[in-house]
Symmetry: C2
Subunit: 245 residues, 2 copies
Amino acid sequence: MFSMTSLNSKDTEFPPEAPELAGFRGPHLAVDVALFTIAPGADRANSRLAFLVVRRLDGLATGEWALPGRMVREREQLSTAVETALKEKCGLTGIEPKQLRVFDEPTRDSRGWVMSVAHLTVQHWDFVEAALAQNPNLGLGYVQLETRFQMELPDGQKNLPFEQDLIVRYAVQDLQLRYRAKPDPDRFLGPTLTIYQLRKVHEAVLGKELDKDVFRRKMEPKLEKTSEMATGTVGKPAELFKRKS
Amino acid sequence: MFSMTSLNSKDTEFPPEAPELAGFRGPHLAVDVALFTIAPGADRANSRLAFLVVRRLDGLATGEWALPGRMVREREQLSTAVETALKEKCGLTGIEPKQLRVFDEPTRDSRGWVMSVAHLTVQHWDFVEAALAQNPNLGLGYVQLETRFQMELPDGQKNLPFEQDLIVRYAVQDLQLRYRAKPDPDRFLGPTLTIYQLRKVHEAVLGKELDKDVFRRKMEPKLEKTSEMATGTVGKPAELFKRKS
DNA sequence: AAAATAGTGTCTGTGAGACAGTATCGG
DNA sequence: CCGATACTGTCTCACAGACACTATTTT
């Protein structure tokens, strides 16, 4: 929208900045993403909450597994930077990142003054599985929710570099808070779902088993019937529901 | 902590930045604060939730009332920037700002690429009242909580500049969410309080009257008795409580 | 005494939690 | 048939909400 007015500026499409800003050079800005998915466990019943990690190929902490992230480019929005990072590093698209908070410790990055805006997003397992199969530099991290927040990373790595352990922890708490109140608000599942699928997702997020009946009665008023039935499962076919309003 | 290692760098106490960061100049970064207080109403019983605004003396939107804010300085932490802004512009100290979120619309500030990190904090009325009395460029804004989020600003101003209406709205929702669960978590009140005072604060934050008995029974298990009594009020003296753990 | 506020007793409705039972499918 | 899953009935307990009542102070 500025392209017509910037023919005399050097190589940007934005007008020159007001001189009073020159005295306040900002920090370098990065985005980091905790991308969660529900990974199937050994049997169908025991899925687990997992997050995506990438092997760092350059810069600090080369070789270590870390959250996907990226430096923010000129005039770029944060959500765009997150989407680009996931597309370029992981080949994942169609993401709606949610901002969590800024990590601003002045010494968190030894290369200079870098702040990081942490984001949270969620992706279906099918897409994550496909991305993992195509790229050996992608992996999954798990959080031990029962014990006191211990992590499992590929290659036996114990911690994430920078302050990213904090990001994961913060993100899990954020997820759990919202999954207590509403049925799958971040959409690990598609538009239609059975109560069984929904319960398995909530169990994975909260890290504990939920009572079958209590869960049904708490969720049903927040769901809408579709009069369609699920197929391809053992047992009595379950009704498919939609999320309400 | 870097002062000993930077004798050869120009005029900063930090070491020079790694060259790979040079290609990623970040945005200019500002902080904005929604500072809330409980302002007394016409009679003692009707206090209202209010937020502090300052008259802009320079830059864009000169003369308008806006949230206090400030550009972040080199290697400064966000919370420090907020504290400095409130101290310099409003003479208020002893603040613990809580980060809300980044507002990153690329065109929100016509002077250039500026992001703002919105913060929320709370201050006792006494301090705010003193600051207002000393500085004619300070004022109070009110939110109509009963209707659909309308604002009252000094001089009949209807909206805040930049995206600050959004900040206030976001901040109020954040406050309300936390005040549903816990007794005065942000400490509008001092360490000891009566249940009456507590209820009046919660009513101001939530914008509706609360049932006397229900409120007492919900809050008492989260409070600790002090066996001291409040003085200087009409009626039966109330017991003073402390917040638990 | 009247006004004002503090605090308690008690009834009701709702809903979580727990458990057992019935229904309907695939193999 | 059996195993597995979907769904329903029902009991208990806790607690929010509502109302009335008693208690203790100031004016």
